[in-house]
Subunit: 569 residues, 2 copies
């Protein structure tokens, strides 16, 4: 491509509306333009990158034996009623009516449509396993679309759905897709991690998320560097620490006139935060079916994990207690809560770490006071114990093979073993080897194709702009001409190099726009071309080209043979 | 691709709901499946064909210098309000509301979105001309979706939009796109014709439609075989015939007791249909602004062209006259109308052919009677003359270079010179060479990508199924194995041939499903693979392969070298 015949429109100013670096850089580089909230036009530059991601995803899905097809964007309500998702999906499902007042939605995912397709097309176990996929536009009506294409309403997703006669076949395809996803993100040149994940709304048995690692990631991931263990922090198990020490301090009230948080109390008392205990007051359901006031206790330096909490008996639909309830049960205002001497009977659940503490500090259930030297068994009855908290950096890995590290990630892929949820709901069966109608097991496998573009930028950028991994770059090489109009020999040499690179299958752009070198180089760096070659009169005289890798700190002077080798010809 | 690992699902029965051959064959071959009215899933087989069409369109658009981008499917009402098309587009525009009750539509075309993009991106004439295109899903809420993907509601369209500083530049790009479209349809292997077209609702100055020729086509096309002239029959000019002969018959009333149509009257009188005149009664608007009763006269063997009629003064919003009006003005019931002796003053407009007639027959304005021997100037005043009729086969070509033929076609492409309609309505300007803000001229260029698939089948099929042109076929070659499980040597030879063809860049499918030959061949013919090679034990012994072109009447026995040459290796 010659840039003079392309449409490249970069911005000097950083757009005010963008909050995260990928959104800023995609706007500055002119990859996307906003049409309305959460709706973006992909410019010619942006589309080149999007298509490169699509191509890698398609190639690897085909290699894995999945079969591409395409389902409609607009799908009828009746189909979504069959699984109950017409209501259950919630307001993210964009609903609409046609001229005949029939109801439809814009597909956010296609379990229903593919199951309907399958039940019309496939009759026998002999045709299984099958894995159908599509790379199409999806829509989720986000309540607060933001971050550019990272959380757009309209986006490009690769969604695949597999069908199996039994769980063993599903497990094999699940592994196949897991491995395929790893190949896709590896080929795209991204640092990523696959983690065990909560199955959330889609349901099913097994589930892994694939995250592109980036400091700005929305999700916290726990992983062990000395083993394969990795999980979303939401799901990672915090295992019980060693045995509880014996009590060594007397129980005593300490004055904490204005100190309400564990941090403030620890600072006042001059003790480690890990010696304090945080009491979170919630309302669950007691064995009698009545509301039950409950204190969940975690160490001062830990955070309550709400997903874990909700998995405990009686807490599936818990809510935070309000001030009146706290006053009623504990006789205290928030900030000074503790499990000792409640006004009425309460349930107390201690995190595993809290259950292993001795001589700890809790709120006194009265304003301006905490109690120190608290011990289980001596001052308080032995508590109900559970894993209640998020893991933190340095926790032992649940597989016992090291310690956990925490990284931030952006979810770009997800594999689910769905089981028979959809095939049962939609009365989808095949005949098995005995001629009996059985519900096939299903898996589903998504990749946020357009989101990958933003995630890659979050991971790969510097002050000058984007640093594309080679597989995603709009072009691999930029050949820049200094003063194309003034010196025909320079232009001719650049054109020759450009043709040679194209002929070698290297996706190259010729910057023949005639900009001043500073402006030209700034554009090429901003849009993140991995390799830049400058052709100038002075260089030609000396028989060399100026080469610079996007991530290198300086240029090199290379003769043509060395240059071509460097560019992979 | 090995068919055993693909999903091919053909049907033996012709689906009852399909009316036209392409719809029937696409369902029988398993290319599409209906999800809801006008909404189709493209199966793996269908998608292969669709993607081949897309690829040719993309390559030729790129070659022509157009630049690919992608605009959102969902577009805000405000944008469409700027051109008035939010209302004017009518009920085909699928409108919807998001969770915040904002209004949007599903894009049926993207003049507004691209003009909005352009006005944000382009400031100077120096950046022009530009031609942006996209290949994306569009939606038109057809009142009666039918004929499968031929008239689906959701479809794939290539739409391109060009921007120009002046009309000369627009004209050059219009020609470039016209030539590009011709290359696209030629490469796809389709018999097609470009015709001058009515610009319809999109408006503008020049417009050509590209039609795939097929007997089942919805549109009638007039073209001259000895010149370049071609036009939609709606638009083709019917030129005036030679001079009017002198009167030779007396005026006389003839009894036509039950004969109301020109055909019946001509048969009764034993005269050519071309000697009769048909009177069509309509209500237009007179010079005084009042309703004006008007008779439009065409020869008995001609049809009134309603588009031409509506272009005449006073008839822009004409309607057919009702019986009461006919009785009031002519004193007659329908079936016996004529311009002679009306009861009240009327306007009479004669088609050019009628104006050149002598001794003709008209209705007598009373039941059971016609009048013969009618002559202009003698019995009737000289009429207002206009081109009122559709051209017919054998008419002189308007360019004077031969005679017209009529063919039927399916519109698959359309190029428009839009002019400044959208740039003016949307206040889109660029600075010209003098620093003055001017509205760019625009062109738009559409191709119905998914429609081409159906149109190609309408043109290329036989009793056994589809006969794909090579460029559109799901695979170019099918290698069929007879009894793959019984004879490993046969399978090995077929696999070797398959690999050799793939390595030569020939898109080949291996039919390794193990079907009986009859069922296997029926499938391969139904899905329209251009070249079939059969590998059998008997053939191998003799060192040959059985080859058959899809459109050939018999198979040939070829050795491997001849076979590979025949397949283009």
């Amino acid at each position: 491509m010659r840039l003079s015949r392309f449409h490249l429109h970069t911005e000097k100013e950083t757009p005010a509306e963008a909050e995260i670096v990928s959104h800023k850089l995609m706007l500055k580089a002119g990859m996307i333009r906003k049409l309305a909230a959460g709706l973006y036009t992909w410019t010619p530059l942006g589309l080149r990158v999007l298509r490169k991601v699509e191509a890698v995803v398609r190639e690897e899905m085909n290699r894995a034996g999945a079969i591409e097809m395409a389902m409609p964007s607009i799908q009828p309500r009746e189909l979504w009623e069959e699984t109950g998702r017409w209501e259950k999906f919630g307001p993210q499902l964009l609903k609409l009516r046609d001229r005949k007042d029939q109801e439809y939605c814009f597909t956010p995912t296609a379990e229903e449509a593919v199951t309907d397709f399958f039940r019309q097309e496939v009759a026998s176990y002999k045709q299984l396993p099958l894995n159908f996929y599509q790379i199409t536009t999806k829509f989720r009506d986000e309540i607060r679309p933001r971050f550019g294409v990272m959380r757009a309403r309209e986006f490009v997703m690769k969604d695949a759905y597999s069908f199996h006669i039994d769980d063993a076949s599903l497990a094999a395809e699940y592994r196949n897709m897991y491995d395929t996803y790893a190949r896709i993100f590896t080929r795209l040149g991204l640092r990523f991690r696959a983690v065990a994940a909560d199955t959330g709304a889609i349901g099913g048995n097994a589930s892994h998320e694939f995250h592109v690692l980036a400091d700005s990631g929305e999700d916290a991931l726990a992983f062990c560097e000395t083993s394969d263990y990795a999980a979303n922090v939401e799901l990672a198990e915090a295992i019980a620490p060693g045995p509880r020490p014996a009590p060594s301090e007397p129980l005593r009230e300490v004055a904490t006139p204005t100190q309400k948080t564990c941090e403030e109390v620890a600072a006042l008392l001059g003790i480690p935060l890990a010696r304090t205990v945080k009491s979170v007051a919630v309302i669950g359901t007691g064995p009698d079916g009545q509301p039950q006031f409950t204190l969940a206790l975690v160490r001062g330096d830990h955070m309550v994990n709400t997903i874990k909490l909700a998995k405990l008996p009686g807490l599936a639909e818990y809510r935070l207690a309000n001030e009146a309830e706290i006053l009623e049960y504990l006789g205290s205002e928030p900030g000074f809560l503790g499990p000792l001497n409640p006004r009425k009977p309460i349930r107390v659940i201690a995190d595993r770490s809290v259950a292993a503490m001795a001589d700890f500090v809790i709120g006194a259930n009265k304003p301006g006071a905490h109690i120190a030297g608290v011990n289980w068994g001596r001052d308080l009855p032995e508590p109900e114990v559970a894993d209640l908290r998020n893991v933190v950096e340095g926790d032992p890995s649940p597989d016992g093979k090291g310690v956990l590290r925490i990284a931030r990630g952006i979810e770009v892929g997800h594999v689910f073993a769905l089981g028979r949820k959809y095939s049962e709901a939609m009365h989808c069966t095949v005949l098995d080897a005995h001629g009996k109608a059985v519900h096939p097991a299903m898996g589903c496998y998504g990749i946020g194709v357009s989101r990958i573009v933003a995630a890659a930028i979050e991971q790969n950028h510097d002050d000058a702009g984007i640093c594309w991994p080679e597989a995603m770059a709009p072009w691999q090489v930029a050949v820049c001409i200094i003063n194309p109009k003034q010196d025909p020999a320079v232009t001719a040499a650049a054109e020759a190099l450009y043709s040679e690179l194209l002929a070698a299958g290297i996706d190259t752009v010729l910057d023949d726009r005639g900009l001043r070198p500073g402006a030209m180089f700034a554009d090429i760096e901003l849009i993140g071309i991995p390799h830049r070659v400058v052709v100038s009169a002075r260089g030609l005289e000396a028989g060399h080209y100026e080469y610079r890798a996007r991530t290198a700190s300086a240029s090199e002077t290379l003769d043509k043979v060395t240059l071509l080798t460097r560019l992979g010809r």
